[in-house]
């Protein structure tokens, strides 16, 4: 898949809550094919404080409308600057980057598990799975009911299960506490979220011999495999999250 550097136009900047927003972007030309799990590198504004690009998972792609979306958490100066973008503004993007989630085998029982901002790549994955004849279960975890995002969007693509840490919506606790994990026998789990969450899910999958892929979010500079900053320890040595990942099978990781 050829990578591009392109100036993309903001079609919509939708505030979800005080910490999250959704950017819908369009290309002047035809969007390249993207795969679930892939990411983009966004140049913020070139100011000294936001010198490097920011990596974001592709949240959703709409090929017929020639747009795709990024679900972004305001975590610092860069994302805060991006949160102020308006319709019609342009941002410079390098994309599509990284590998993608693997497709499951026929008739496999699939769970998508995400927490917080980590739910971002799972919408695209759920849609992709639907298009390929799969209906996954989707387990999402948030801190509280006010933090729940995109519920209807996910619910349209599979059976949805929810946890909140304070119990204000869905089951109380972390996603790995949800009874759906004991009630069902999954063949494969695709997971993205905070590292402790992914590690807990990886432990569950190991204990139950479930195939598991996680999407990592290591700090990176280039996004194209040359700075060697975003490495993760694997059984094959240190690998770049940006090119060998961001999606890894947990058997490859030293977790």
């Amino acid at each position: 898949m050829t990578k591009r550097i392109e100036s993309l136009r903001v079609v919509e900047n939708k505030k979800i809550n005080k910490d999250y927003f959704l950017l819908r972007l369009t290309s002047q030309g035809k969007l390249p094919e993207m795969k679930p799990g892939q990411f983009v590198q966004v140049k913020v504004d070139g100011s000294p404080e936001t010198f490097l690009r920011r990596p974001f998972s592709v949240h959703d792609v709409n090929y017929s409308g020639n747009t795709f979306r990024l679900l972004i958490q305001i975590a610092g100066k860069g994302t805060e600057t991006l949160s102020r973008l308006s319709t019609g503004d342009s941002i410079n993007v390098i994309y599509p980057l990284g590998n993608s989630f693997s497709l499951p085998e026929k008739n496999e029982n699939i769970l998508l598990a995400g927490g917080g901002c980590g739910i971002a790549p799972l919408l695209f994955l759920a849609r992709y799975l639907n298009e390929n004849g799969f209906t996954p279960d989707i387990l999402l975890g948030f801190r509280s009911s006010e933090r729940v995002m995109e519920y209807d969007e996910y619910a349209a693509l599979g059976r949805i299960f929810l946890t909140t840490e304070d119990g204000s919506m869905g089951k109380k606790g972390f996603i790995t506490d949800h009874p759906v994990l004991t009630a069902n026998r999954y063949d494969v789990v695709y997971c993205c979220g905070p590292e402790p969450m992914m590690k807990a899910m990886a432990a569950y999958c190991r204990a139950n011999s479930v195939r598991c892929e996680v999407s990592l979010e290591n700090l990176m500079a280039c996004g194209i495999g040359v700075c060697l900053c975003c490495t993760v320890e694997t059984v094959r040595g240190n690998l770049c999250t940006c090119t060998e990942g961001p999606v890894f099978n947990i058997n490859d990781l030293k977790w």
Binding site: I5, P48, F51, A221, C227, V232, E233
Partner: protein, 303 residues
Amino acid sequence: MVKLDFNINDLHFKNPVLAASGTFGYGVEFRDFFDISQLGGIVLKATTLEVREGNPYPRMAETPAGMLNSVGLQNKGIDHFEKNIYPVVSEFNTNVIVNVNGSYVEDYVTLAGRINALEKIPAIELNISCPNVKKGGMIFGTDPKSAREVIREVRKVYSKQLIVKLSPNVTDIVEFALIAEEEGADSVSLINTLLGMAVDVKRMKPSLATVTGGLSGPAVKPVALRMVWQVAKAVRIPVIGLGGIMNSRDAIEFFLAGASAIQVGTASFINPAVTIDILKGIENYLNEKGFSDIREIIGYINN
């Protein structure tokens, strides 16, 4: 038509824009973005005798107008290079330069000897300035005696173009440039990264696993420029300038200060095609100023 090509001894460069080691991979990573044969040269990432896994994560921290890295020379070693990388990079229609690093003088010598035998590699950049390894690296570049020894021994076995990459983490970089010249280096490149650090106040820990790392990006440009200017006045061999070059204006500053060629490093992380923009910008500048040859502006401010 502006003349951009030049020679360092018998090595011809089609233009003075090179990609810096450690920021350009093996070149192949950039093929989606532009035709890398348009560059004057590319310096491949550091190669060592043995396989190196590099330093633990985190290895990177963004800093004002720059970044710190502590990669630690991660690479698959010279065997892998000869077998898997060389066949690919030898097809590139540009000068492919290998950045050579080691823990001991003998490592450098062995490596240089093996790369000397690779027909399509016309030059090595002797990295005596990596700040991110415990043994070797910068030790050779910050101690005059060690610098002299490693350059002398490598020169004995390496018959092609020897570029010595200098460390800015010294009191007087000119001293090291003169040593390189005296020991037969064909050119010097400067600067490698400046030793720095950052602390994560939220986690109350150093931002890098190794605590310290190498600072690069526009933040280091004034320091790099000053050192290039000092060295260019002191040595007769060509000086390759680098450090924080983000655009053609930055590059031209280095030429005016005395650099015969420049390398672009960290800027490629932000814009993978920036080297080509810089090349075009240099050409435009020379046209606008009415120069017909890049060599007319090299060291211009010193005249």
